[in-house]
Every structure is written in C-alpha cells, then in structure tokens.
Amino acid sequence: MSDVADRVKKIVVEHLGVEADKVVENANFIDDLGADSLDTVELVMAFEEEFNVEIPDDAAETIVTVGDAIRFLEKNAA
C-alpha cells in the first residue's frame, strides 16, 4: 500500500470514526462509511491540509470513494 493510501485511510478513520478494516478502496464515504454530505466536505478539507493541495469543487465532487481520494491525491499531490 502506498504512503498516500495510508495517509488517506488514517484521515478517514479519524474523521468518520470507523474501523480501519472497513476503509477499503471501494468503500463509498456516504453509503459504506456512514458519512453525511458535510463530512465529505470536511474530508476534502482534511485531504487538502494533509497533502497541501487545493482540491477544486468540481474535482471534490468526483471523490466519492476511498480509492477516488487516493487516486486523485497520488496524481495531484506533490
């Protein structure tokens, strides 16, 4: 598992208070991990902070699973 994936999963576990083993790549934040829409905004803010990137709104809307976040950040984070 990549370093990015580890950091993403850690943020998701901390923020949503879910078991680490549930935070798999195809887990949907809302359907599988119990996030509400505000949680997804906060997760994006947390990713921005952790990876020091700006995630524009149109990109943020495409990040709906853990894997989406990992792939976006692997591509865009320094």
């Binding site: 505000l38 905004v41 906060e42 803010m45």
Partner: protein
C-alpha cells in the same frame, strides 16, 4: 455571562451607527475585533478609541474581489475567526415601478450576496474548529415589507432564509447562525428622516421611541456568546414592539 474573552470577531459596516455599537460591545466583552468598512478614517478612529485587540480591514462589499479577500485578511490578522457579524447594509429606496436595476442590484449585492460570500468563507474554518457564531443583521422590513424598499426588504428577507438554511447545515458542527432584525434605530440611516416622517414612525412603535445601537449590539453579544449555544436559525426582532411575530 456573555464573556467573549479569546474570541475573534469580524464586524462588517463597523463605521455605521449599529455596526460601531456592535464592535464596541463585542470588544467590551473581551473579544478581539476586526473592523471592516469602506471609510478608512472612521475605521481608524473607532480602532484607536478601542485601543488593544483591534484590527482594521478596509473592504468594499459591492466588489466581489474585495469581499473574498476580507475573511482571509481577518483570519490572518486575528489568527482565527469565531464570530462573523454581517452588519453592512445599504439602502437605495425607490418606488417599485421606478426602481432601477442598478438600485436593485447594489442593495442585493451588499446586503445579501456579500453576506453569503463572507459566511461561506468563514464557515470553512469554523467547521475545522468545531465552533462558530454567525450573526446576520436583518431588518423588521424583511418581515413586514415597506413601501419604497422593495430591494432592501427582499435583501433582508433573503438573509432570514439564508440564516435558516445555513443554520441547519452546520448545527452539528457547533456553529450557530442567527439573525437580529432591528426596527427603527437612531443611526445615520434614520437621521435623514424629517420631523413628519419621524412622528409617523413613532406612532407605529408601542415603545414610543427609536431604538439605540447599543440595544442591537447587546442582542448580538448574546447570540455570539456561549450562553446562546442552543439558539440557531432564529431571527431576534429588536424593534420596540412595532412588529410582533
């Protein structure tokens, strides 16, 4: 009660009669305050009368770039923002049938759209910190209407709806959003009334007098305080009884 020590507040329209009173009251309760407005000299004068824990950021709320720069500037100056008071407002009164698009647009831009943009910017870090207070200054005419003020009444009614929607969205993050709706208050905005208009207005106010800026400010202090933690999405009417809801 109502101790704001350590809290950081931004007040727009801080050089106005009501805005100045709000800034002084928040400051007196211990908050650090950023004063915003268009008139630099008046802002500096208020700042120097308050002494410490005061910052000044000029902003023209009819200008999008100026609006978007304001919250980041206040956050940078105070190292955070806990309390946003959207107080700035303008009037461009005209009979509805004579109202120019420009008169409509300016009033909506300053009174409503700027409050939206400032709240959107402020709420982001409030969510991070799991604490925030947004107080929008409405008006009794947002609920009652007033001839000649179609634009102003619409902007203030819009603030009430926006207050409720945002309050519902962010309540779970310990952020409250409320509205204070003044009636007729002694201020530059009411100083322009002539004696006959003034008498006519007094006749509609059971309290028989205009309100004072301080009486609006104390409502804002309450809603900004820890004591009001369970109050959100509300409009507090402060109008001497001229309209009761």
């Amino acid at each position: 009660m109502f101790d704001l020590t350590g809290r950081k507040a931004l007040v727009t329209g801080a050089t106005g009669g009501i805005g100045g009173a709000i800034a002084r009251a928040l400051h007196a309760q211990g908050a650090t305050v950023t004063l915003s407005g268009t008139r630099r000299a008046a802002l500096d004068e208020l700042a120097s009368s308050l002494g410490e824990r005061v910052h000044v950021v000029e902003a023209n709320l009819s200008d999008k770039d100026s609006v978007e720069a304001l919250v980041p500037a206040a956050e940078a100056a105070m190292e955070g923002l806990d309390i946003l008071v959207n107080n700035a407002g303008v009037t461009k009164d005209n009979l509805f049938m004579r109202m120019k698009d420009e008169e409509w647009d300016t009033v909506i831009a300053v009174n409503l759209t700027a409050s939206f943009r400032l709240s959107r910017a402020a709420v982001k870090n409030m969510m991070r910190r799991r604490y925030g207070r947004i107080v929008n200054i409405g008006s009794v005419v947002g609920s009652t209407g007033n001839p000649g003020q179609g634009n102003y009444a619409a902007s203030k009614a819009g603030l009430i709806g926006m207050t409720k929607a945002l309050a519902a969205e962010v309540a779970s993050r310990n952020i409250t959003v409320n509205c204070v709706a003044p009636g007729f208050i002694e201020s530059p905005m009411t100083d322009v009334l002539n004696e006959k208009q003034r008498e006519g207005i007094l006749g509609t106010i059971p309290m028989g007098r205009l309100g004072q800026g301080d009486e609006i400010a104390s409502s804002v202090v309450y809603l900004a305080s820890q004591e009001a933690a369970y109050v959100t999405g509300q409009t507090l009417h402060v109008n001497g009884g001229m309209a009761m809801f």
